[in-house]
Amino acid sequence: MTDFISLFQYTFFQNALMASVLISILAAMIGTYIVSRKIVFISGGITHASFGGIGIAYFLGLNPFLGAALFAILTSTSIEWISNKGKVREDSAIAILWSLGMAVGIIFVFMTPGYTPNLISFLFGSILSVGKSDIIIMLIITLATAIFFLVWYRPIIYSAFDPEFSKINGIHVTFFRYTMAILVALAIVISIRAMGIILVLSLFTIPQSTAMLFTNSFNRIIPLSILWGLLGSLSGLFIANHFNIPSGAAIIFMLTIQFLIIKALVVAVELKKQKMR
Protein backbone atom coordinates (compact mmCIF):
# COMPACT_ATOMS: atom_id res chain seq x y z
CA MET A 1 0.00 0.00 0.00
CA THR A 2 2.82 2.42 0.92
CA ASP A 3 4.12 1.56 -2.49
CA PHE A 4 0.96 3.00 -4.11
CA ILE A 5 0.95 6.13 -1.99
CA SER A 6 4.58 6.88 -2.66
CA LEU A 7 3.83 6.68 -6.39
CA PHE A 8 1.82 9.89 -6.16
CA GLN A 9 4.94 11.84 -5.25
CA TYR A 10 6.42 11.34 -8.68
CA THR A 11 5.64 13.90 -11.35
CA PHE A 12 5.55 11.24 -14.07
CA PHE A 13 2.86 9.37 -12.18
CA GLN A 14 0.86 12.51 -11.46
CA ASN A 15 0.98 13.29 -15.17
CA ALA A 16 -0.06 9.76 -16.09
CA LEU A 17 -3.02 9.99 -13.70
CA MET A 18 -4.06 13.35 -15.07
CA ALA A 19 -3.79 12.00 -18.64
CA SER A 20 -5.88 8.94 -17.72
CA VAL A 21 -8.64 11.11 -16.29
CA LEU A 22 -8.72 13.44 -19.30
CA ILE A 23 -8.54 10.68 -21.89
CA SER A 24 -11.26 8.68 -20.12
CA ILE A 25 -13.62 11.66 -20.33
CA LEU A 26 -12.70 12.47 -23.91
CA ALA A 27 -12.90 8.86 -25.12
CA ALA A 28 -16.25 8.41 -23.37
CA MET A 29 -17.82 11.24 -25.39
CA ILE A 30 -16.17 10.53 -28.75
CA GLY A 31 -16.35 6.76 -28.33
CA THR A 32 -20.11 6.88 -27.74
CA TYR A 33 -20.47 8.77 -31.02
CA ILE A 34 -18.22 6.26 -32.81
CA VAL A 35 -20.04 3.21 -31.43
CA SER A 36 -23.50 4.68 -32.06
CA ARG A 37 -22.69 5.55 -35.65
CA LYS A 38 -20.98 2.18 -36.13
CA ILE A 39 -17.80 3.81 -37.40
CA VAL A 40 -15.32 1.81 -35.33
CA PHE A 41 -13.63 0.56 -38.49
CA ILE A 42 -13.40 4.12 -39.85
CA SER A 43 -11.79 5.17 -36.60
CA GLY A 44 -9.27 2.36 -37.01
CA GLY A 45 -8.44 3.82 -40.42
CA ILE A 46 -7.97 7.30 -38.97
CA THR A 47 -5.75 5.94 -36.20
CA HIS A 48 -3.39 4.11 -38.53
CA ALA A 49 -3.36 6.80 -41.22
CA SER A 50 -2.14 9.28 -38.63
CA PHE A 51 1.12 7.35 -38.38
CA GLY A 52 2.01 8.78 -41.79
CA GLY A 53 1.88 12.24 -40.24
CA ILE A 54 4.04 11.16 -37.32
CA GLY A 55 6.71 9.82 -39.70
CA ILE A 56 6.79 12.93 -41.88
CA ALA A 57 6.87 15.23 -38.85
CA TYR A 58 9.84 13.30 -37.47
CA PHE A 59 11.65 13.47 -40.77
CA LEU A 60 11.15 17.24 -40.95
CA GLY A 61 11.96 17.73 -37.29
CA LEU A 62 8.48 18.97 -36.40
CA ASN A 63 6.18 18.09 -33.50
CA PRO A 64 4.85 14.58 -34.24
CA PHE A 65 1.50 15.43 -32.67
CA LEU A 66 0.95 18.15 -35.27
CA GLY A 67 1.79 15.78 -38.11
CA ALA A 68 -0.50 13.08 -36.74
CA ALA A 69 -3.33 15.55 -36.15
CA LEU A 70 -3.07 16.87 -39.70
CA PHE A 71 -3.14 13.37 -41.19
CA ALA A 72 -5.96 12.22 -38.95
CA ILE A 73 -8.13 15.24 -39.75
CA LEU A 74 -7.47 14.87 -43.48
CA THR A 75 -8.40 11.19 -43.29
CA SER A 76 -11.54 11.61 -41.21
CA THR A 77 -12.92 14.51 -43.22
CA SER A 78 -12.18 12.80 -46.52
CA ILE A 79 -13.91 9.61 -45.35
CA GLU A 80 -16.91 11.73 -44.34
CA TRP A 81 -16.81 13.30 -47.80
CA ILE A 82 -16.50 9.95 -49.59
CA SER A 83 -19.41 8.48 -47.63
CA ASN A 84 -21.57 11.46 -48.59
CA LYS A 85 -20.74 11.08 -52.26
CA GLY A 86 -21.14 7.32 -52.10
CA LYS A 87 -18.95 6.81 -55.14
CA VAL A 88 -16.17 4.60 -53.78
CA ARG A 89 -16.97 1.62 -51.64
CA GLU A 90 -16.31 3.13 -48.27
CA ASP A 91 -14.64 0.16 -46.61
CA SER A 92 -12.09 -0.29 -49.39
CA ALA A 93 -11.25 3.41 -49.24
CA ILE A 94 -10.67 3.11 -45.50
CA ALA A 95 -8.43 0.06 -45.90
CA ILE A 96 -6.31 1.95 -48.45
CA LEU A 97 -5.89 4.98 -46.18
CA TRP A 98 -5.23 2.64 -43.24
CA SER A 99 -2.24 0.87 -44.79
CA LEU A 100 -0.98 3.83 -46.84
CA GLY A 101 -0.66 5.88 -43.66
CA MET A 102 1.33 3.15 -41.94
CA ALA A 103 3.56 2.72 -45.02
CA VAL A 104 4.31 6.45 -45.27
CA GLY A 105 5.06 6.56 -41.56
CA ILE A 106 7.46 3.62 -41.65
CA ILE A 107 9.30 5.00 -44.71
CA PHE A 108 9.82 8.44 -43.18
CA VAL A 109 10.79 7.17 -39.75
CA PHE A 110 13.29 4.89 -41.48
CA MET A 111 14.71 7.77 -43.55
CA THR A 112 15.11 10.09 -40.55
CA PRO A 113 18.85 10.45 -40.09
CA GLY A 114 20.55 9.82 -36.77
CA TYR A 115 18.27 9.20 -33.84
CA THR A 116 15.36 6.94 -34.73
CA PRO A 117 12.41 7.35 -32.42
CA ASN A 118 11.17 4.33 -30.59
CA LEU A 119 8.56 2.78 -32.89
CA ILE A 120 7.25 0.62 -30.08
CA SER A 121 6.12 3.67 -28.10
CA PHE A 122 3.99 4.84 -31.04
CA LEU A 123 2.47 1.45 -31.55
CA PHE A 124 1.77 0.73 -27.90
CA GLY A 125 1.88 4.17 -26.27
CA SER A 126 3.70 5.37 -23.17
CA ILE A 127 1.40 7.05 -20.71
CA LEU A 128 4.18 7.24 -18.13
CA SER A 129 6.19 9.60 -20.34
CA VAL A 130 3.34 12.07 -20.90
CA GLY A 131 4.53 15.63 -20.27
CA LYS A 132 2.98 18.95 -19.22
CA SER A 133 2.46 20.11 -22.80
CA ASP A 134 0.64 16.86 -23.69
CA ILE A 135 -1.66 17.38 -20.73
CA ILE A 136 -2.43 20.93 -21.75
CA ILE A 137 -3.37 19.77 -25.27
CA MET A 138 -5.51 16.97 -23.80
CA LEU A 139 -7.23 19.46 -21.51
CA ILE A 140 -8.02 21.84 -24.39
CA ILE A 141 -9.42 19.10 -26.64
CA THR A 142 -11.44 17.54 -23.82
CA LEU A 143 -12.93 20.90 -22.83
CA ALA A 144 -13.72 21.83 -26.42
CA THR A 145 -15.44 18.48 -27.01
CA ALA A 146 -17.40 18.69 -23.74
CA ILE A 147 -18.65 22.18 -24.57
CA PHE A 148 -19.58 21.12 -28.09
CA PHE A 149 -21.56 18.16 -26.74
CA LEU A 150 -23.27 20.18 -24.02
CA VAL A 151 -24.39 22.99 -26.30
CA TRP A 152 -25.27 20.98 -29.39
CA TYR A 153 -26.22 17.57 -28.05
CA ARG A 154 -29.45 17.43 -30.05
CA PRO A 155 -28.11 18.29 -33.49
CA ILE A 156 -25.07 16.02 -32.95
CA ILE A 157 -27.15 12.92 -32.31
CA TYR A 158 -29.80 13.84 -34.89
CA SER A 159 -27.16 14.38 -37.60
CA ALA A 160 -25.74 10.98 -36.73
CA PHE A 161 -29.07 9.15 -36.42
CA ASP A 162 -30.90 10.40 -39.51
CA PRO A 163 -28.97 13.03 -41.50
CA GLU A 164 -31.58 13.39 -44.25
CA PHE A 165 -34.44 14.09 -41.89
CA SER A 166 -32.30 16.49 -39.87
CA LYS A 167 -31.31 18.37 -43.00
CA ILE A 168 -34.95 18.84 -43.98
CA ASN A 169 -35.66 20.02 -40.47
CA GLY A 170 -33.12 22.82 -40.73
CA ILE A 171 -30.15 21.31 -38.87
CA HIS A 172 -26.72 22.17 -40.31
CA VAL A 173 -25.94 18.50 -40.80
CA THR A 174 -22.80 19.07 -42.85
CA PHE A 175 -21.34 21.36 -40.20
CA PHE A 176 -22.04 18.92 -37.37
CA ARG A 177 -20.83 15.83 -39.24
CA TYR A 178 -17.55 17.48 -40.27
CA THR A 179 -16.95 19.06 -36.87
CA MET A 180 -17.49 15.66 -35.29
CA ALA A 181 -15.10 14.11 -37.84
CA ILE A 182 -12.44 16.63 -36.75
CA LEU A 183 -13.10 16.04 -33.04
CA VAL A 184 -12.90 12.26 -33.55
CA ALA A 185 -9.54 12.71 -35.30
CA LEU A 186 -8.14 14.98 -32.57
CA ALA A 187 -9.36 12.73 -29.76
CA ILE A 188 -7.76 9.68 -31.34
CA VAL A 189 -4.47 11.41 -32.03
CA ILE A 190 -4.05 12.83 -28.54
CA SER A 191 -4.94 9.45 -27.04
CA ILE A 192 -2.32 7.72 -29.20
CA ARG A 193 0.28 9.53 -27.08
CA ALA A 194 -0.86 7.49 -24.10
CA MET A 195 -2.19 4.28 -25.60
CA GLY A 196 -0.43 3.86 -28.92
CA ILE A 197 -1.82 3.31 -32.41
CA ILE A 198 -2.66 -0.34 -31.94
CA LEU A 199 -4.28 -0.09 -28.51
CA VAL A 200 -6.03 3.28 -28.63
CA LEU A 201 -9.43 2.22 -29.99
CA SER A 202 -10.08 0.00 -26.99
CA LEU A 203 -10.53 3.14 -24.89
CA PHE A 204 -13.22 4.32 -27.33
CA THR A 205 -15.15 1.04 -27.40
CA ILE A 206 -14.75 -1.15 -24.28
CA PRO A 207 -16.13 1.38 -21.74
CA GLN A 208 -19.09 1.96 -24.10
CA SER A 209 -19.77 -1.76 -24.39
CA THR A 210 -19.75 -1.99 -20.59
CA ALA A 211 -22.03 1.04 -20.29
CA MET A 212 -24.45 -0.42 -22.84
CA LEU A 213 -25.04 -3.37 -20.53
CA PHE A 214 -26.96 -0.89 -18.37
CA THR A 215 -28.50 1.64 -20.73
CA ASN A 216 -29.30 2.21 -24.36
CA SER A 217 -29.56 5.95 -24.30
CA PHE A 218 -26.82 8.12 -25.79
CA ASN A 219 -26.79 10.68 -22.98
CA ARG A 220 -26.49 8.00 -20.30
CA ILE A 221 -23.82 5.96 -22.11
CA ILE A 222 -21.40 8.91 -21.88
CA PRO A 223 -21.26 9.34 -18.06
CA LEU A 224 -21.22 5.57 -17.54
CA SER A 225 -18.36 5.25 -20.04
CA ILE A 226 -16.44 7.91 -18.14
CA LEU A 227 -16.85 5.86 -14.98
CA TRP A 228 -15.78 2.54 -16.55
CA GLY A 229 -12.96 4.20 -18.50
CA LEU A 230 -11.61 5.81 -15.33
CA LEU A 231 -11.84 2.63 -13.27
CA GLY A 232 -10.17 0.60 -16.00
CA SER A 233 -7.33 2.99 -16.73
CA LEU A 234 -6.53 3.77 -13.09
CA SER A 235 -6.49 0.13 -12.06
CA GLY A 236 -4.47 -0.60 -15.20
CA LEU A 237 -1.92 2.05 -14.23
CA PHE A 238 -1.47 0.61 -10.75
CA ILE A 239 -1.13 -2.91 -12.04
CA ALA A 240 1.37 -1.80 -14.65
CA ASN A 241 3.49 -0.23 -11.91
CA HIS A 242 3.12 -3.07 -9.51
CA PHE A 243 4.06 -5.83 -11.93
CA ASN A 244 6.28 -3.65 -14.07
CA ILE A 245 4.39 -4.36 -17.31
CA PRO A 246 3.54 -1.93 -20.17
CA SER A 247 0.80 0.46 -19.05
CA GLY A 248 -1.26 0.55 -22.28
CA ALA A 249 -1.62 -3.23 -22.36
CA ALA A 250 -2.41 -3.32 -18.63
CA ILE A 251 -5.19 -0.74 -19.07
CA ILE A 252 -6.83 -2.70 -21.88
CA PHE A 253 -6.54 -5.87 -19.87
CA MET A 254 -8.31 -4.23 -16.94
CA LEU A 255 -11.01 -2.66 -19.16
CA THR A 256 -11.76 -6.08 -20.62
CA ILE A 257 -11.73 -7.92 -17.28
CA GLN A 258 -14.09 -5.27 -15.96
CA PHE A 259 -16.43 -5.77 -18.92
CA LEU A 260 -16.43 -9.55 -18.48
CA ILE A 261 -17.09 -9.42 -14.72
CA ILE A 262 -19.97 -6.96 -15.17
CA LYS A 263 -21.38 -8.93 -18.07
CA ALA A 264 -21.31 -12.07 -15.91
CA LEU A 265 -23.04 -10.21 -13.07
CA VAL A 266 -25.73 -8.89 -15.40
CA VAL A 267 -26.36 -12.38 -16.78
CA ALA A 268 -26.50 -13.81 -13.24
CA VAL A 269 -29.03 -11.21 -12.14
CA GLU A 270 -31.17 -11.90 -15.22
CA LEU A 271 -31.13 -15.63 -14.50
CA LYS A 272 -32.11 -15.05 -10.91
CA LYS A 273 -34.99 -12.83 -12.00
CA GLN A 274 -36.22 -15.55 -14.34
CA LYS A 275 -36.11 -18.13 -11.52
CA MET A 276 -38.09 -15.83 -9.22
CA ARG A 277 -40.95 -15.74 -11.71
Binding site: S36, R154, I157, F161, E164, F165, K167, I171, S217, I221
Partner: protein
Protein backbone atom coordinates in the same frame (compact mmCIF):
# COMPACT_ATOMS: atom_id res chain seq x y z
CA UNK B 1 -58.82 27.94 -51.34
CA UNK B 2 -57.10 25.03 -53.05
CA UNK B 3 -53.88 26.73 -53.92
CA UNK B 4 -50.69 25.15 -55.20
CA UNK B 5 -48.17 24.85 -52.35
CA UNK B 6 -45.35 23.01 -54.12
CA UNK B 7 -44.44 22.38 -57.71
CA UNK B 8 -41.87 20.19 -59.45
CA UNK B 9 -41.08 21.81 -62.78
CA UNK B 10 -39.36 19.89 -65.53
CA UNK B 11 -37.25 17.98 -63.02
CA UNK B 12 -34.54 15.62 -64.21
CA UNK B 13 -32.69 13.99 -61.35
CA UNK B 14 -30.71 10.93 -60.32
CA UNK B 15 -27.42 9.80 -58.84
CA UNK B 16 -23.83 10.03 -60.04
CA UNK B 17 -24.79 11.72 -63.30
CA UNK B 18 -27.31 9.05 -64.26
CA UNK B 19 -30.86 10.28 -64.42
CA UNK B 20 -33.59 8.21 -62.81
CA UNK B 21 -36.29 10.79 -63.34
CA UNK B 22 -36.83 12.54 -66.64
CA UNK B 23 -38.61 15.88 -67.04
CA UNK B 24 -41.21 15.51 -64.37
CA UNK B 25 -44.05 17.88 -63.62
CA UNK B 26 -46.08 17.68 -60.44
CA UNK B 27 -48.27 20.19 -58.65
CA UNK B 28 -49.28 19.71 -55.05
CA UNK B 29 -52.25 21.66 -53.71
CA UNK B 30 -53.43 22.27 -50.17
CA UNK B 31 -55.44 19.27 -48.95
CA UNK B 32 -54.19 17.04 -51.76
CA UNK B 33 -53.71 13.37 -50.99
CA UNK B 34 -51.58 11.96 -53.77
CA UNK B 35 -50.64 8.29 -53.94
CA UNK B 36 -47.40 7.65 -55.76
CA UNK B 37 -47.00 4.23 -57.34
CA UNK B 38 -44.51 2.67 -59.68
CA UNK B 39 -41.95 -0.12 -59.89
CA UNK B 40 -38.85 -0.28 -57.73
CA UNK B 41 -36.06 1.80 -59.21
CA UNK B 42 -38.63 3.88 -61.05
CA UNK B 43 -37.64 7.00 -59.13
CA UNK B 44 -40.35 7.35 -56.48
CA UNK B 45 -37.93 7.97 -53.63
CA UNK B 46 -35.70 10.13 -55.82
CA UNK B 47 -38.67 12.35 -56.57
CA UNK B 48 -39.43 12.74 -52.87
CA UNK B 49 -35.82 13.61 -52.16
CA UNK B 50 -35.82 16.30 -54.81
CA UNK B 51 -39.03 17.74 -53.43
CA UNK B 52 -37.62 17.70 -49.88
CA UNK B 53 -34.37 19.33 -50.98
CA UNK B 54 -32.18 16.37 -50.00
CA UNK B 55 -30.82 16.06 -53.54
CA UNK B 56 -30.42 18.74 -56.18
CA UNK B 57 -32.04 18.04 -59.55
CA UNK B 58 -29.77 17.98 -62.64
CA UNK B 59 -32.27 20.17 -64.47
CA UNK B 60 -35.55 21.83 -63.62
CA UNK B 61 -36.55 23.09 -60.19
CA UNK B 62 -38.85 22.86 -57.23
CA UNK B 63 -40.79 25.95 -56.31
CA UNK B 64 -43.20 26.95 -53.60
CA UNK B 65 -45.68 29.55 -54.95
CA UNK B 66 -46.91 30.57 -51.50
CA UNK B 67 -43.43 30.78 -50.07
CA UNK B 68 -41.34 28.17 -48.30
CA UNK B 69 -43.49 25.50 -46.68
CA UNK B 70 -42.92 23.28 -43.72
CA UNK B 71 -42.56 19.63 -44.78
CA UNK B 72 -42.76 16.50 -42.66
CA UNK B 73 -40.98 13.36 -43.83
CA UNK B 74 -41.31 9.70 -43.00
CA UNK B 75 -38.37 7.85 -44.59
CA UNK B 76 -38.36 4.19 -45.58
CA UNK B 77 -38.06 1.95 -42.55
CA UNK B 78 -34.84 0.44 -43.89
CA UNK B 79 -33.17 3.83 -43.60
CA UNK B 80 -33.49 3.84 -39.82
CA UNK B 81 -30.84 2.16 -37.68
CA UNK B 82 -32.86 0.51 -34.93
CA UNK B 83 -29.75 -0.16 -32.86
CA UNK B 84 -28.92 3.52 -32.51
CA UNK B 85 -29.06 4.40 -28.80
CA UNK B 86 -31.86 6.94 -28.99
CA UNK B 87 -35.16 7.06 -27.09
CA UNK B 88 -38.68 7.39 -28.49
CA UNK B 89 -38.85 10.81 -26.84
CA UNK B 90 -35.67 11.97 -28.57
CA UNK B 91 -36.85 10.71 -31.96
CA UNK B 92 -40.19 12.52 -31.75
CA UNK B 93 -38.51 15.70 -30.52
CA UNK B 94 -36.21 15.54 -33.55
CA UNK B 95 -39.23 16.65 -35.55
CA UNK B 96 -39.53 19.93 -33.67
CA UNK B 97 -37.93 22.92 -35.30
CA UNK B 98 -35.39 24.66 -33.09
CA UNK B 99 -36.59 28.08 -32.02
CA UNK B 100 -33.27 29.74 -32.85
CA UNK B 101 -30.96 29.10 -35.72
CA UNK B 102 -27.94 28.06 -33.67
CA UNK B 103 -29.48 27.10 -30.38
CA UNK B 104 -31.22 23.78 -30.17
CA UNK B 105 -32.96 24.00 -26.84
CA UNK B 106 -36.67 23.20 -26.96
CA UNK B 107 -39.32 25.20 -25.19
CA UNK B 108 -41.55 23.56 -22.59
CA UNK B 109 -44.61 23.82 -24.82
CA UNK B 110 -42.71 22.13 -27.66
CA UNK B 111 -41.81 19.21 -25.41
CA UNK B 112 -45.42 18.94 -24.27
CA UNK B 113 -46.68 18.88 -27.85
CA UNK B 114 -44.28 15.99 -28.62
CA UNK B 115 -45.58 14.07 -25.61
CA UNK B 116 -49.14 14.83 -26.71
CA UNK B 117 -48.49 13.24 -30.11
CA UNK B 118 -47.06 10.09 -28.54
CA UNK B 119 -50.11 9.85 -26.25
CA UNK B 120 -52.37 10.22 -29.27
CA UNK B 121 -50.50 7.37 -30.93
CA UNK B 122 -51.00 5.25 -27.82
CA UNK B 123 -47.25 4.87 -27.33
CA UNK B 124 -46.92 6.68 -24.02
CA UNK B 125 -45.46 3.78 -22.09
CA UNK B 126 -42.58 3.57 -24.56
CA UNK B 127 -41.72 7.24 -24.27
CA UNK B 128 -38.42 6.80 -22.40
CA UNK B 129 -37.57 3.48 -24.07
CA UNK B 130 -34.91 3.06 -26.76
CA UNK B 131 -36.30 2.55 -30.26
CA UNK B 132 -34.60 -0.86 -30.39
CA UNK B 133 -37.44 -2.43 -28.37
CA UNK B 134 -40.20 -1.34 -30.77
CA UNK B 135 -41.93 -3.52 -33.35
CA UNK B 136 -42.02 -2.42 -36.98
CA UNK B 137 -45.46 -0.86 -36.65
CA UNK B 138 -44.59 0.89 -33.40
CA UNK B 139 -41.46 2.37 -34.93
CA UNK B 140 -43.52 3.66 -37.86
CA UNK B 141 -45.90 5.34 -35.43
CA UNK B 142 -42.99 7.05 -33.69
CA UNK B 143 -41.52 8.15 -37.02
CA UNK B 144 -44.91 9.48 -38.09
CA UNK B 145 -45.12 11.46 -34.84
CA UNK B 146 -41.69 12.89 -35.66
CA UNK B 147 -42.85 13.78 -39.18
CA UNK B 148 -45.91 15.70 -37.99
CA UNK B 149 -44.36 17.21 -34.84
CA UNK B 150 -43.88 20.59 -36.46
CA UNK B 151 -47.38 20.75 -38.01
CA UNK B 152 -46.21 20.55 -41.62
CA UNK B 153 -48.27 21.83 -44.54
CA UNK B 154 -47.07 18.87 -46.57
CA UNK B 155 -46.51 15.37 -45.22
CA UNK B 156 -44.32 13.08 -47.31
CA UNK B 157 -44.44 9.33 -46.58
CA UNK B 158 -42.11 6.78 -48.18
CA UNK B 159 -43.54 3.24 -47.99
CA UNK B 160 -45.11 3.51 -44.52
CA UNK B 161 -46.73 0.09 -44.97
CA UNK B 162 -43.58 -2.03 -45.04
CA UNK B 163 -42.80 -4.20 -42.00
CA UNK B 164 -46.17 -3.50 -40.38
CA UNK B 165 -49.12 -5.77 -39.67
CA UNK B 166 -52.64 -5.41 -41.06
CA UNK B 167 -53.97 -4.03 -37.79
CA UNK B 168 -51.47 -1.19 -37.79
CA UNK B 169 -52.14 -0.54 -41.45
CA UNK B 170 -55.81 0.26 -40.90
CA UNK B 171 -54.89 2.35 -37.87
CA UNK B 172 -52.41 4.25 -40.03
CA UNK B 173 -54.97 4.83 -42.75
CA UNK B 174 -57.48 6.31 -40.28
CA UNK B 175 -54.76 8.54 -38.91
CA UNK B 176 -53.71 9.75 -42.36
CA UNK B 177 -57.28 10.57 -43.33
CA UNK B 178 -57.57 12.72 -40.23
CA UNK B 179 -54.24 14.42 -40.90
CA UNK B 180 -55.30 15.14 -44.46
CA UNK B 181 -57.90 17.58 -43.12
CA UNK B 182 -55.01 19.77 -42.00
CA UNK B 183 -52.24 19.07 -44.49
CA UNK B 184 -51.46 17.85 -47.97
CA UNK B 185 -50.10 14.29 -48.11
CA UNK B 186 -47.83 12.57 -50.59
CA UNK B 187 -47.76 8.81 -50.07
CA UNK B 188 -45.36 6.46 -51.85
CA UNK B 189 -46.40 2.84 -51.93
CA UNK B 190 -46.08 -0.14 -54.19
CA UNK B 191 -49.17 -1.62 -52.61
CA UNK B 192 -51.74 -0.50 -55.16
CA UNK B 193 -54.40 -2.60 -53.53
CA UNK B 194 -54.97 -0.35 -50.56
CA UNK B 195 -53.99 2.98 -52.05
CA UNK B 196 -57.16 3.81 -54.03
CA UNK B 197 -59.44 3.77 -50.97
CA UNK B 198 -57.15 6.18 -49.21
CA UNK B 199 -55.89 8.76 -51.68
CA UNK B 200 -57.64 11.39 -53.80
CA UNK B 201 -55.38 11.14 -56.83
CA UNK B 202 -52.61 8.94 -58.12
CA UNK B 203 -49.28 9.57 -59.81
CA UNK B 204 -47.36 6.82 -61.59
CA UNK B 205 -43.62 7.24 -61.54
CA UNK B 206 -41.47 5.12 -63.79
CA UNK B 207 -38.72 7.36 -65.08
CA UNK B 208 -41.45 9.73 -66.18
CA UNK B 209 -44.55 10.76 -64.28
CA UNK B 210 -48.18 10.36 -65.20
CA UNK B 211 -50.71 12.16 -63.05
CA UNK B 212 -54.13 10.60 -62.68
CA UNK B 213 -56.63 13.02 -61.16
CA UNK B 214 -58.82 10.38 -59.51
CA UNK B 215 -58.28 7.40 -57.24
CA UNK B 216 -59.68 4.87 -59.69
CA UNK B 217 -57.15 2.96 -61.71
CA UNK B 218 -57.56 0.28 -64.33
CA UNK B 219 -55.04 -2.09 -65.81
CA UNK B 220 -55.47 -0.41 -69.19
CA UNK B 221 -54.59 2.96 -67.74
CA UNK B 222 -51.54 1.56 -66.02
CA UNK B 223 -50.43 0.17 -69.34
CA UNK B 224 -50.84 3.55 -70.97
CA UNK B 225 -48.88 5.10 -68.12
CA UNK B 226 -46.13 2.50 -68.56
CA UNK B 227 -46.42 1.62 -64.89
CA UNK B 228 -45.74 -2.09 -64.37
CA UNK B 229 -47.18 -2.92 -60.96
CA UNK B 230 -49.44 -5.38 -59.24
CA UNK B 231 -53.10 -4.54 -59.25
CA UNK B 232 -55.74 -6.01 -57.02
CA UNK B 233 -59.27 -5.98 -58.34
CA UNK B 234 -62.36 -6.58 -56.28
CA UNK B 235 -65.05 -8.98 -57.40
CA UNK B 236 -67.31 -11.61 -55.88
CA UNK B 237 -64.20 -13.69 -55.22
CA UNK B 238 -61.26 -11.49 -54.41
CA UNK B 239 -58.52 -12.28 -56.87
CA UNK B 240 -55.25 -10.83 -57.87
CA UNK B 241 -54.28 -10.01 -61.41
CA UNK B 242 -50.59 -9.78 -62.02
CA UNK B 243 -49.74 -8.04 -65.21
CA UNK B 244 -46.32 -8.47 -66.77
CA UNK B 245 -44.87 -5.68 -68.87
Amino acid sequence: MNQIIARLKNVTAGYNGESVLKEIFLEIKENDFIGIIGPNGGGKTTMLKVLLGIIEPFRGNVDFPLGKINMGYLPQASQIDKNFPISVKEVVEAGLKPTHRWSHQLSKSQKESALGLIKEAGMERYYKKPIGVLSGGQLQKVLLCRAIASNPQLLVLDEPNTYVDKHFESELHQWLKKLNEKMAILLVSHDVGTIPSLVKSIACVNGTLHYHPSNQLTLELLKVYDCPIDLITHGPVPHRVLKKH
